[in-house]
Symmetry: C2
Subunit: 355 residues, 2 copies
DNA sequence: ACCAGGACTTAAAACGCTTGAAATTGTCCT
DNA sequence: AGGACAATTTCAAGCGTTTTAAGTCCTGGT
């Protein structure tokens, strides 16, 4: 039998892998199916499919064609196992956070550019950081990008032993960990600068609770107020990261003797709550009270809120996080690095000079 | 050498797998490491770790102990490959949607109960449904749960050949696919019933664009208006699923001769936009205008909005979706099933009798 | 005619786990 | 003591890729 003929025979042997599974699902074609279809070894097919130089042009075309015909798709699990690399970055997110959503979006593009994929694991009411991270590890993530982790520093350091950890958005007290964040105190400082520049004195701060981030922002507020000689006007009301907190804070204020001329909220969600409550109470913004948020998340940009806020540059943070991971994985960086980005004020419609 | 002694020797042979990788990362312990540590075969260890009956109590304890000591964690990729089952449900979500966030939360708990895990793949501006689904398949998801897919019905059917597809939240015209959704037209109908019951006649609808869901809701509005003899008052203004659309719609209305007495928005986000714009314009809600949303997502529940809306019972939809997947995978169900849940009105503070 | 060297290909050994069959050990009878 | 049987444990063959070392074929040069 001539080799050419043999080959031709094989190419027509099967009908394209349309064998149906008992549940009606086609069985997934594998490398071998593609290989026998073109009469080559799985090795060659693998080479072609990964774009490794070596196979001839003719082979390349035939393989690509056959793979397309069969609807072949590489099996990640198998290739991860074989290559001992998953090329996967594990990302822990709070699925309810709009800001995280933004980060994930940019992480995706950044990761893709350097040839990595993302696997997401989300925090929910019934799913804590521990399980989220375990999941990521079970998928063999090569690095862990944790968005706003709340775990104690030493737990994160321990984790870092299993896979490089990149903490995003949170300061970690002198730990040997990669951190990407913005200078939260500086951000709030900029807000206060802006407001005092407009002539505000009575600037109230709606707090964000007990996390590290909240602490930094609160400190930024206090420091800036004192810097402007407004130490006496420092006023912090309890709150958290939700719209509800903002609304409660306003109700609390309305009970008091008089309103401050400006309200700075821990984040945008909280600020939206403030805005909504003020609107309902018939208080003009920014006419009577100026309001500022933090995060520049999708909500704040909406024309209906048009909130002055501080941008955390999700895009930049995402890029730095991915870069940090890649440096660890592909460039053997050992020393931890902390990237602190400068936040910047986004002036929109909720701030103006006091009446 | 006595067997007992041999065994003891081996248990002390290594130090717990603390060998450090060049990047400072511990190398991941494998089944074999646990096995040699307790002087057993990997088969036994595997059995114990998966809780398969067979191994003796003593063995069980020793293995569990050793695994914990080493910090052993099963490698999903390897076990998926070996067992030819990933026990993974692929979920496609729009990471910016609060409603999807809710669904994911419930999907997680539902999946866990039946021994499956979730892998999430998200839609972003630069990541379309196709890539999202490819990713899911590359992870070897056994079934695909697509939240609000926009792909044409035939594309979904084609996909269903590769892995069972469960479309959530969207009607699919008579396709051979599993669908879990709520009766959107009925939901909007309930809203109109409620409003007319309160005495409203001029009820305006802010549309959601051109998706199937938007079509159903719009139809529900029209039908219900006619049913109540208010066909003349049917009025639909263009919009979409964002706060911006709601706000624009209101600005448009304010330019007109006079306001309707009630506004029904395509979804909660849109309704929030309506609410914000009305508040800014000094229009009292529900005093002058009643507002209703759709989805009962986290935003609407906030006291600062306290939006009357329709609940899509995320929890129930999630459960049904997981059940559908499991029936396909473990119980060989072949015939497609459509689960249509009844939505229910959630009365809150933004509706009242017209002035 | 022969061989070096390049251009392609491929055989086969991992990768870390699961699993059905086979082997081992122990127990209880007779 | 011998055997049957149940309880444990292990063997070894995969799973679908990757990857390295080893081929196979040509092409030219001598």
């Amino acid at each position: 039998m001539l080799p050419e003929e043999h080959c031709r025979r094989e190419e027509q042997l099967d009908d394209g892998g349309s064998a149906r599974h008992r549940n009606g699902t086609h069985k997934r074609p594998k490398l071998e199916d593609v290989a026998t279809r073109v009469g080559l070894s799985t090795a060659s097919v693998s080479l072609v499919l990964r774009g490794v130089p070596g196979p001839s042009e003719r082979t390349r075309e035939r393989v690509l064609r056959a793979a397309a015909d069969l609807g072949y798709q590489v099996d990640r699990t198998a290739s991860t196992l074989a290559s001992r690399r998953s090329r996967l970055l594990g990302v822990m997110v709070d699925i309810h956070s709009p800001f995280h959503a933004e980060l994930v979006e940019h992480l995706h593009t950044a990761a893709e550019e350097v040839g990595y994929d993302l696997v997401l694991s989300t925090l929910t009411r019934t799913r804590d950081e521990h399980t989220a991270v375990e999941t990521l590890l079970a998928f063999r993530s090569e690095a862990l990008i944790l968005l706003g982790p709340t775990a104690p520093a030493d737990a994160l350091v321990a984790l870092d032993n299993k896979a490089p950890v990149i903490a995003v958005g949170r300061r970690i007290a002198g730990a040997a960990l990669d951190v990407v964040r913005t200078a939260d105190d500086d951000g709030v400082g900029q807000i206060v600068d802006h407001l005092t520049g407009l002539g505000h004195r009575e600037i109230l701060y709606v707090d964000g609770g007990k996390g590290v981030i909240a602490t930094d922002r609160r400190r930024g507020y206090r420091t800036a107020m004192r810097r402007h000689g407004q130490g006496d006007h420092v006023r912090v009301v309890a709150g958290d990261h939700t719209e509800g907190a903002g609304a409660r804070a306003v109700r609390h204020l309305l009970d008091g003797p008089r309103l401050p001329t400006a309200v700075v909220a821990f984040n945008d969600q909280c600020a939206i709550g403030v805005l909504a409550a003020l609107a309902r109470a018939g208080v003009a913004v920014p006419g009577e009270v100026s309001v500022v948020g933090y995060d520049d998340d999708t909500l704040s940009r909406l024309s209906c809120f048009n909130l002055t806020t501080v941008s955390q540059s999700a895009r930049e943070q995402a890029r730095h996080a991915v870069t940090a991971a890649v440096e660890r994985l592909d460039r053997d960086r050992i020393e931890p690095r902390e990237v602190v980005l400068a936040p910047h004020l986004v002036l929109r419609g909720t701030t103006a000079a006091p009446a």
